[in-house]
Amino acid sequence: MNSAELLQFVASGLQNGAVYALVALGFTLVYASTGIINFAQGEFFMLGGMLAVAGVRAGLPLPFAALASVVLTASIGLLFERVALRPRRDSGPTVLIIITIGGSMVMKSLARHAFGPNELSLPPFSPGVPIVFAGASIDRQVLWIWGLTIVAVVALTFLYSKTKLGRAMRACSLSHDAARLMGIDTARVVMISFGLAAALGALGGVAVAPLTQTAFDVGSRAGLKGFAAAILGGLGNPIAAVVGGLVLGLLESLSVAFISSTYKDAISLVVLLAVLFLRPQGLLGKSRREKV
């Protein structure tokens, strides 16, 4: 294998990895503010792509359709939290998690009825020939995916560390009760984290749709991969989610390169399990010890 081929495998891994990372960021955000896993996260990814296609078909210019899709999906995320989850917020995490599973089924079925069963295409953001870098060719859309992932991570890090809302979110992740006693509107923080998670999922869905097409049923796979990435990196902080996503993507493409394409998913899952045995808190997660 020459260096150009190796670089091509790495590029392929980072391309998938960046998409996994965007979905994983959504898992991390919701987990940080509520302590639950939102299994509807993959459907936000699906809605992002589908609504953008619907926008373009309705005659909106592509950038506007993409933006509108992200905003609309974020609103759906807010609404989902407000209508489906908040009324049962005192029922404990198990009930809430099951509600998110139900929500994902509803969104998927509605999307099938609204958009049909077939795959739909979105035009590329900036059409043109692929960019060749040291022998590896990279589609222009991949640069958009990488760029948007970086922007999302920088924006989230800024939000977490510099803004009042971010501090409120971090406070919620440590202790809901303490945060509420400090005068933080925890219900609002939870709702916003769902909106942000939905926006991030949608961003991934919009960015990847020109490469892969999209369909009403792409959400479950995206959710699964994003969840694996979030666990691999360590639930809780945005950087860990991104690292988890990129590592998972690279594992898959390097499995194809050095072992076999048939077993690439199995190999990445075995590595995920191995990491969880050795470091249950994930690659970058901080271990939480109960202090007595």
Partner: protein, 394 residues
């Protein structure tokens, strides 16, 4: 409070009860006008969601269209045909549940389905248990090679399509091929037959790669293939991943000809792959370019009639999958008309096996006690994508 609760329960029960009675009365009335006898009940297990949703939906469209046409003309033997549809979600386990429901609850005479090879094989145990004939719309060879007296098949199986495709490759001087197939039942079936048949056809397989249904990037597999420097890439799958393979090849600057399976004869592939679809070749039956039947022939008239009615009803011409469903329904209906004496699943199966010279969309069907597919290579042509549509590749 408690009193009021009980009152409410009574009211609800009464309301439900009266609705039920009304419903039954309605049902009786519906059956008594039109024809006097009970309708024939046929089940259909289709992939209306999941990876094969794009195949199952035109299949359902075709069956609905044909059932409505036959019922409007008075049905078969003076009895209407009632079709019960079940979605298997492209999941073998759900297909089993769907078949069980159709057999136990709807008491169907025959099952049309499933859409996919994996689902078709999965429902065999249910079929065998009830002794109900099954007409599958899946193209895996295993459906009829792994012979079951109850199971029939309407598409061209891989054991016919693969040698045809390999012959076409050889005729074009493309003798070193790389194979990329998906891990579904259909892709695996195709992969095994290609590997087995290649040497006899004078073709060398220089690389073998797989992809999983749902994968979104194949540049890794294609980079491996690029290293093997094949004359052509042969792709065997039937999902949306085909368009990604074509686009990834373009991204990697690969000019190697891409040849696919009948499963890629979908307009979503052309839309999804865009410019990368140009020059893509695949073998399939003649329905995509009906002139291939020969314009004066009986098959041409049958296909043209179906295409006209389907296009009018759904605004888009039928694809090969709609054709497979048309054929499956036709096979069952034709046999229903030929059954002598009581129509039971057993007598219907015997009648289906005696199908002879039945002109459908995918070809002319003649079943026998040893051949439950009844098609030959003669039904296939090679297509090429040119200017966003299919043309015959002479």
């Amino acid at each position: 409070m408690k009193m009021r609760g009980r009152l409410l329960t009574v009211v609800v029960v009464l309301a439900l009860g009266s609705a039920l009675v009304a419903g039954c009365a309605q049902g009786k009335r519906g059956a008594s006008d039109g024809t006097s006898a009970k309708p024939y009940r046929i089940g259909a297990v289709l992939s209306l969601t999941g990876t094969y949703a794009g195949l199952g939906t035109p299949e359902q469209n075709a069956i609905k269209l044909e059932a409505a046409r036959i019922n409007a003309a008075g049905g078969i033997n003076g009895r209407l045909i009632e079709v019960f549809y079940e979605d298997d979600g492209t999941d073998p386990a759900k297909a089993v549940a769907a078949a069980a429901r159709l057999i136990e609850q709807e008491d169907v005479l025959a099952i049309i389905g499933a859409t996919g090879t994996g689902q078709t094989m999965a429902i065999r145990s249910e079929i065998a248990r009830a002794g109900v004939p099954q007409v599958s719309m899946a193209g895996g060879s295993v459906v009829t090679d792994d012979f079951d007296p109850l199971v029939f098949q309407t598409p061209w199986p891989n054991r016919i399509v693969v040698p045809f495709t390999l012959k076409a490759l050889k005729a074009r001087g493309l003798t070193k091929i790389a194979l990329i197939s998906d891990t579904s039942g259909y892709g695996t079936d195709g992969h095994d037959i290609i590997v087995k048949e290649a040497a006899a056809a004078g073709i060398e397989v220089v690389a073998e790669q797989t992809l999983n249904p749902g994968d979104t990037d194949m540049t890794a597999q294609l980079t491996k293939i690029k290293g093997a420097a094949p004359d052509a890439i042969l792709m065997w799958n039937a999902g949306k991943e085909a368009a990604i393979v074509a686009k990834n090849m373009q991204q990697l600057g690969m000019k190697t000809p891409l040849v696919g399976s009948p499963g890629n004869g979908r307009k979503e592939f052309i839309e999804g792959a865009g410019a990368a679809a140009e020059g893509f070749r695949f073998a399939a039956g003649k329905v995509l370019v009906p002139a291939a039947y020969g314009t004066d022939s009986e098959p041409y008239k049958v296909a043209n009639d179906f295409i006209t009615r389907y296009t009018k009803a759904y605004g888009t011409p039928p694809d090969i999958f709609a054709g497979h469903a048309y054929d499956a329904f036709l096979v069952v209906v034709d046999a229903l008309g030929r059954v002598e004496g009581d129509v039971t699943p057993g007598s219907l199966r015997d009648a289906i096996e005696k199908t002879s010279g039945l002109v459908g969309i995918g070809g002319t069907f003649s079943y026998s006690a040893t051949d439950h597919n009844g098609l030959t290579m003669e039904e296939l042509v090679l297509y090429r994508v040119a200017d966003k549509t299919w043309v015959l590749d002479q």
